[in-house]
Symmetry: D2
Subunit: 346 residues, 4 copies
């Protein structure tokens, strides 16, 4: 039985880890931290998590935590994660970091987009980017995982087979993403209050969202050359889910069925990626509460464009579910354990 600590447990990714791990047969949460809720029972804040009757929030005291767990999930804000990650890693623990602090391999890029210096470059160099469909073998041997961002997960899974297969013009990639409101985190902020979000829809951070360099890093790695992309996030008036619509010019004439075959070949053995049939497209509702990614593609022969649609639950495949998947891979547990739930529909 793996002992799990969750640092930063009162946000949506933290409580989603608790939900998922409650159904994992081989893992047990032994500690959970929250500075502002320290000393309170978890169930006082979240009565629906009644399986964790005995769990109390504690402050993030790294030394005290060290012996309480084998695996450390960090769901701390960007910047705040660096030091804790380094500490647990340097003390021999397995660490899965859900922040952005260890996702960008180049500290200069991290500084450019997050405005922070990276103080632990040697540790950064030992980090594996935790997208199993790209790095499964490296994850198996890793002790430190940078769990991918939600938008990058949806975009990279959508483009991976197309870029690997040389299907698209790398200078033409447009990534138009729409995310549910939980992606903004759990916070007191008028901008995410019900009455401002409900019955609304907007773009934000056009061309400037911090997930842009993360997407570009991985797509460039796949392509073997530097890629820049147009990435626009939008805010959906629903709780969970990201749907990403991707456009790229095709390098040669082809059709939808041929492209689908490339996708099915790449993802045929992947437990959590589902390539849909021709004419069927993903719906956020079909992946809600699950670790699955639905993919659909369409070749527009009038414009010679490949259109790819990708849907995930941002809190599961885009965060806590993928983190548990990484844990399973790192520890040799069967990959699907704890992650088999089907979508809550409706």
């Amino acid at each position: 039985m793996l002992k799990i600590a969750i640092c930063g447990g009162s946000g949506y990714t933290g409580i989603e880890l608790l939900r998922i791990l409650a159904g994992h047969p081989d893992a047990r949460v032994t500690a959970i931290t929250s500075e502002k809720s320290a000393g309170k029972r978890l169930t006082a804040l979240f009565p629906h998590l009644h399986k964790y009757q005995d769990l109390l929030f504690e402050p993030l005291n790294k030394e005290k935590l060290l012996d309480k767990a084998d695996i450390f999930f960090l769901a701390l804000p960007h910047g705040a994660s660096q030091e804790a990650v380094n500490f647990f890693f340097r003390n021999g623990k397995k660490v899965i970091d859900l922040s952005a602090d260890f996702r960008l391999r180049d500290p200069g890029t991290y500084k450019d987009w997050y405005g922070l210096a990276h103080d632990f470059v040697p540790t950064l160099k030992r980090t594996v980017y935790g997208l199993p469909e790209m790095y499964r073998n490296r994850i198996r041997k890793a002790r430190l995982i940078a769990n991918p961002g939600c938008y990058p997960t949806s975009a990279i899974l959508g483009l991976l087979p197309a870029i690997k297969g040389g299907l698209v013009d790398l200078s033409s990639i447009v990534i138009d993403s729409k995310s549910g409101t939980s992606g903004a985190g759990r916070k007191a902020d008028i901008a995410v209050s019900f009455c401002e979000v409900n019955e609304g829809f907007k773009a934000y951070g056009i061309g400037t969202h911090r997930h842009t360099p993360e997407i570009e890093q991985e797509l460039s790695f796949l392509a073997g050359e530097n890629i820049t992309v147009d990435f626009t996030p939008h805010l959906l008036p629903l709780d969970r889910g990201i749907l990403t619509t991707i456009y790229a010019k095709l390098t040669k004439k082809t059709d939808t069925v041929s492209v689908l075959n490339v996708y099915k070949k790449k993802y045929g053995n992947e437990p959590f990626v589902k390539v849909l049939e021709e004419g069927v497209y993903p719906n956020i509702k079909n992946v809600r509460g699950t670790n699955f990614c639905q993919l659909g593609v369409k070749v527009n022969t009038r414009t010679n464009t490949l259109v790819i649609v990708s849907a995930i639950d941002n809190l599961v495949k885009g965060a806590s579910g993928q983190a548990v998947h990484n844990m399973n891979i790192m520890t040799g547990i069967e990959e699907e354990k704890g992650l088999t739930n089907l979508a809550l529909f409706p």
Copy 2:
């Protein structure tokens, strides 16, 4: 491994049974019927149910189905269920009927409220009303379960300890229920179209809803005398969940803590009923996707009224989850199996 057949599998309670049973270690769905989708693959209609790759909808041919399963769940429309229930029951199968056809013990009452004659009164007499918190021992020995309606489940669980304990004036009971839209079923109907329901809220069927006699039957049984109640259902602009607010005059002075103690004593060992602390009230969001019922109570000393609030997921505890709970009890399986999921929050 129990073999399960689901008759009427393309509605919300049918696909919810499929979702729940996909996570049940001791059960396997071997047949599913739908007249209008007969011949189609389940996953062609519902791609999110990808665990059932091989399942095809078939027409409801009772003789052919008989050997395919040990347990028959019937999720057919009211009236259409009578004959099939009788058939499978008379042929020795265990049957759990999610329609209203076998819920009312008195065929006259059934005729008054549903406008239909009951053609299988001897079978009706052998039916057990499947509310485990009331009839667990009888369910254990039953072969035919009338699975409770969604509104009755929320109302009866809310009132059971108060009536058993003699706390309330039986002539003063007001039951004000609010249900998510999945309670109306899966159908093509302008009245449940998105644009008519969204951002709306209304009462309907005031004093005339068919769940009224079902509620009254069970409350009268608990009280040992005939009770009539005011029951008003409302339509909430959300997918799942019922919240029922109940008012009844107290028979004597008391306070919230004393009443909570009565409730905790009654439900302390119940796996699926959670009595909340003083000042904490249920939220539909806390039970979404789960088989749990949250209960909160408040004594209003200014008016000498007991106010009880009850929340369930109408498709789980109010339908398919309770059906699986009944199956577990009938077959001697551990009660919680397949039903341990915590709420999807947010």
Copy 3:
């Protein structure tokens, strides 16, 4: 052309006043205050209010404001309103206060429920409770209006004809209200964040909500004796609207049509109250964005109970629209001016 000042203009009732008054032919907003947005252009915060290009938020400097307007609408927090109301009133202005500070005639009751002393009792005594359907003649001559609360508006309009007509047992009144989230105000608070409210529904403040004494005050006045009621508010996952379901035992046998006739007689000439036909019930969606109140009634002969359903838009008839209605009455303008919009449906 009436000159209007709005004190506390950055909340939902303030911006709703701006929306309504933009369509009022005889009124012009000349000043708007907000402490935290002082100095900013209104359109910088709310680009959709583009008709007010020249309006700047200013701090609430009472002396400076005095000459800028004829009518003062105060949309300040409870407690903060007392002094400003008194000042503008004592300086000869017409004042419409949307806070609760002048609604309760008894300063002791105000203290009990709001925890505040009332420092301006002589002014309080000259206040008229601004429910036109009850106090039209007094409003005509008033210079200070306490604009009714949203829940009280829906509850009192629902009960007025029944109590006046002696139809109901005054000790049996249950008021079960459901409000959209804008009723909680515009604020940074996790409890009203999208992901906590959406797909949820809950009761709150059972028996303790501050609108209780306001409802009781007016119902007692109508009845000529002291009444206490059970009042439970609930939070709906939608922007606007209150639907209130009211239960009371009938004093004698009657039927729905007879009660409807009492209601139609009372409200037949009211411009903003619409009594629906037998079997038709109100829907929040039918009054959204309007100053109309829809009423439906049902006599439950099985239980001898009158059930009344009332729907309003909490920000219009429940706040800013009713305030403009009061302004029209106080200034001799045609009552419906600026308030004729039909519901935005869907």
Copy 4:
């Protein structure tokens, strides 16, 4: 006072015309048709339209209708509109057709995308495409207006200044649109039922939506050469509104402020187009219930791409409001009459 007939009045565009015209000082609805509701009072179906107490649905009897009105709004299904439009036009009436039947100038294109022959080509040739920002002068003299589709309105208004100004590479245009559910019409269809749409989000008709040729026709006209575009519609879980995000490669280096100046110059005198400041982007919520279009732009210098965001209410600026705007222009009424409402926010 203009006399108005609405043919096909029970759908969302029909009842939206009724809502808007109820606030128009110079117009009066004298007839409304619906085949399936013929003989019923309008208010029996839509109690919220209580201003139209005397209006009855009648069948579409063209000869009988002819003398009842000066202006005919047709909100009929595509295909069904052709003959009626031709009849009223040939009999000297002013006609505004909200269907697609007269939008495409080339009958061959109409046949390709709608699968129907066009039987009234001479009438088609006399039709003006009713986008006032493009064709105001022609609309002034027109007697037959093809009212633009909702998606095309949002896309064309977004691209017009960029194409006219030669700012963008015409072969690179990507139009990613997201529409509220009322765009699908008022109908009994599981696909638009609440539980299927709510908490979901999906793309549909990728590359094949019938608004594609309409968009291409007008953009080609603006460009002076044939353009094809990638157009993907998506379904939003909200009632009203379209937000369109447009991507196109820039023809030369520029910046956001320079492009905004081009947009402000073009739209500075337009009553219903609002160009937002740098860094501010449209939100569907800011235009809800209004005839306004909000536009925002961003130059992404990393990718040399112009990103344009456009928001309208699909039922107002995208349908019935634009139709009334066209009526005002055709009849010499002040353009803004009946269309001055600000957004319902929240």
